[in-house]
């Protein structure tokens, strides 16, 4: 019997084995956001069932809400009604809601970490595919649909099958400017956008262990774009330091008990997997996507690949379609492409350190006249901290917009849109056709590169010698 960290977490949550080999899994923490709340709660209501454990469920308004300074709600027609229902349902059932007025409001996966809702060893289910973000804390976490959310509300359980395990080892020491975003984009390029299908991915290796908790969340966040819905990192002391004192984390004696439990849980695990991918990342440069899938990625100093070199016909057609959509050609250098929009934000890259790093690039400079650049912090707490450090002044003085927290231009559901046929350099997680706006051309990058592109008005490498 294998005894990996995944095995330990999974087995500790099995309530019952179901007929077909799937398991009934206990849900320790459940999070919902505004796109699902109205339907999930009204379905429970109409069925006459109860919300089994309202104290273990949280609801966050993040996708639909406006983010411009001075916002009062949403700018999307019809969305206020859904937000009002969310408020009423959560009040009726006794579920804690993080609305825009809440001191701890933010993006769902940022709030769950920041508030200590997600903890090592716990199952955390959220009705959003980027639930994998908090796997960085040693949490067993994945995303659900609305019907599964309804199931959790009514039963505090989910029916699921244990995935296979892929171990990804990032080895080596990272070059200057190369961080979590580059590692995950590189991995997606390496195994492909469906390379992780059927797997949970556990990350380890010397380069991985050198990352901060915030960076590890960036890495785990885009595991979804590698086709795996579960990301895992065995917790270490950095995790416990990060979580201590957070609002929903245990305190006092219970904290000591919990940490002892977590240390034991993470110790002497089998470090094996059904597939092992080892990547030496010492020579890796900053990454950027050139196409319409996160797997279409190259080094910032690289050139757009040539579809003629692609033997598979269907893949070749995909590349050609992506090139046409993105307005790039084979052999073109990615650097130098004109940029009209820059977005720094999202559950991938809107934490305080992301903002600090972006601010260092723009400090004392001006954004190019041709660029609209917006910075959207991941939570109200992050925004406040950034303002205490004066980061807002740096962005504003450079001619960037400084917004309130929310998903904003990543999900692009709240009205924050990239204009049609324009190019956006974005710290978010998806560059699909139309994701950030109709015919929007998105390039996924780290916060530093996004900031550098805003200043130069072109795709550029801030570390170029």
């Amino acid at each position: 019997m294998s005894d990996t960290y995944l095995d330990r977490l999974w087995d500790a949550h099995v309530i019952d084995h179901l007929e077909d080999g799937s398991d009934l899994i206990h849900v320790d923490r459940h999070l919902l956001h505004d796109l699902h709340c109205a339907i999930a709660f009204s379905s429970v209501e109409e069925s006459g069932r109860e919300v089994k454990h309202p104290e273990m469920t949280w609801a966050v308004a993040d996708h639909m809400i406006a983010t411009e300074p001075g916002r009062t709600g949403t700018n999307v027609p019809g969305a206020q009604l859904l937000l009002d229902r969310m408020r009423k349902h959560t009040d009726d059932y006794g579920v804690k809601m993080f609305g825009i007025e809440d001191a701890n409001h933010g993006i769902i996966h940022i709030v769950s970490a920041e508030q200590g809702i997600a903890l090592p060893g716990l199952t955390v289910l959220a009705c959003d595919s980027h639930a994998c973000t908090v796997g960085a804390l040693g949490t067993l976490t994945w995303g659900t649909g609305t019907s599964e959310a309804e199931h959790i509300l009514a039963t505090q359980t989910i029916r699921s099958t244990k995935p296979k395990l892929m171990r990804v080892e990032f080895e080596g020491s990272l070059r200057e400017g190369v961080r979590a975003k580059d590692l995950i984009l590189h991995l997606i390029g390496h195994i492909g956008g469906s390379g992780g299908h059927g797997y949970a991915i556990e990350y380890d290796g010397t380069a991985l262990r050198s990352l901060s908790i915030e960076d590890r969340m960036t890495l785990c966040n885009m595991t979804m774009e590698a086709g795996a819905e579960i990301a895992l990192i065995r917790p270490d002391e950095k995790v416990y330091d990060y979580l201590k004192g957070r609002n929903y984390a245990p305190a006092g004696e219970e904290w000591d008990l919990a940490v002892a439990h977590w240390r034991a849980l993470a110790a002497n695990c089998d470090e094996t997997g059904d597939r092992v991918v080892t990547l030496d990342v010492s020579d890796l440069g900053p990454q950027i996507t050139w196409g319409t899938m996160p797997s279409q990625v190259i080094s910032i100093d690289g050139t757009i690949p040539d579809p003629e070199q692609e033997p598979d016909e269907s893949a070749r057609a995909q590349m050609q379609r992506a090139m046409e959509y993105m307005g790039v050609g084979p052999g073109d250098s990615i650097k130098g492409l004109d940029v009209q929009q820059v977005f720094i934000g999202s559950c991938t890259n809107a934490r305080i350190d992301d903002l600090r790093r972006a601010s260092r690039i723009v400090a004392g400079k001006r954004v190019a006249d041709t660029v609209r650049a917006i910075v959207v912090p991941g939570s109200r707490n992050i925004k406040q901290l950034a303002e205490q450090e004066g980061l807002d002044r740096i962005f504003l003085d450079a001619g960037m917009e400084w917004h309130e927290a929310g998903c904003s231009m990543c999900a692009a559901i709240n009205g924050d849109l990239v204009a049609p046929d324009t190019r956006c350099v974005s710290t978010s997680n998806r560059n699909f056709e139309g994701r950030q706006g109709l015919r929007a051309r998105s390039h996924l990058v780290s916060p530093e590169i996004a900031a550098a592109c805003a200043v130069s008005g072109k795709i550029s490498n801030p570390w170029e010698v």
Partner: protein, 215 residues
């Protein structure tokens, strides 16, 4: 959930790989409090451009208007977990999708909504799509969940695998929640034991956190 019934109908081929759920249903149709009526948003941005119907997009071809089966490429309906993609497909009148592989969320969401996601090898799916296209849509497809087969009007037959529990649930239209609630005693027993080992997991009802600012 309505029990799944075997059926025969027009199949619509859409073999491009990696079609994601955002292409299936865009942002404008997510603001809804209902699972119904979303077919108008299905593949909206591929059906229309600048308000104009795209005549060459498969859904706009008259022969596929009443399609009951959707034939998809590898990694079909990947990306965002939005269940709206499944609701839109179901609302359009599609009863089964045939593809080599699916986005994980779409697959699970489909089963929760009575939509059958058939998995067949890429070569078979391509063959079915080619037969349908060659016949200009007139080669219909019969989907039998009971027999686990897809049969074409041209006589070709393909067998597919599906989890026995998923099959049973679809055929009976079983409600997952009802089935799980029958195990309430097991769930309570699990929680009672777990609470002793991991007391920090179990918060008290109405427990208000102290307002500490992080960092």
């Amino acid at each position: 959930m309505k029990p799944f019934e075997n059926f025969r109908g027009i199949a619509m081929p859409m073999m491009r790989p990696d079609i994601d759920t955002e292409q299936m249903i865009n942002r404008d149709f997510l603001i809804t409090a209902s699972r119904k009526g979303l077919s108008k948003g299905l593949f909206h941005d591929l059906r229309y451009r600048n308000g104009e119907k795209q005549a060459d997009f498969v859904m706009n071809l008259p022969q596929y208007r009443d399609a009951k089966v959707l034939i998809g490429g590898p990694n079909f309906a990947s990306g965002s977990s939005r269940e709206h993609a499944v609701w839109a497909v179901v609302d359009y009148g599609i009863g089964a999708v045939i593809a080599p592989s699916y986005g994980v969320h779409f697959y699970r969401n489909a089963l929760k909504n009575g939509l059958l996601p058939v998995i067949l090898p890429l070569a078979d799916v391509a063959e079915i799509a080619a037969a349908v296209e060659a016949s200009n849509g007139s080669c219909e497809v019969a989907v039998s969940l009971t027999e686990q087969t897809v049969k074409l009007d041209n006589g070709k037959e393909y067998a597919f695998e599906i989890h026995s529990e998923a099959k049973e649930a679809l055929l009976a239209g079983l409600d997952d929640i009802e089935r799980t609630l029958r195990r309430s005693t097991r769930i309570s027993a699990f929680q009672a034991k777990d609470r002793l080992e991991r007391p920090w997991v179990y918060l008290s009802k109405g427990q208000a956190p102290t307002e500490i600012s992080p960092e």
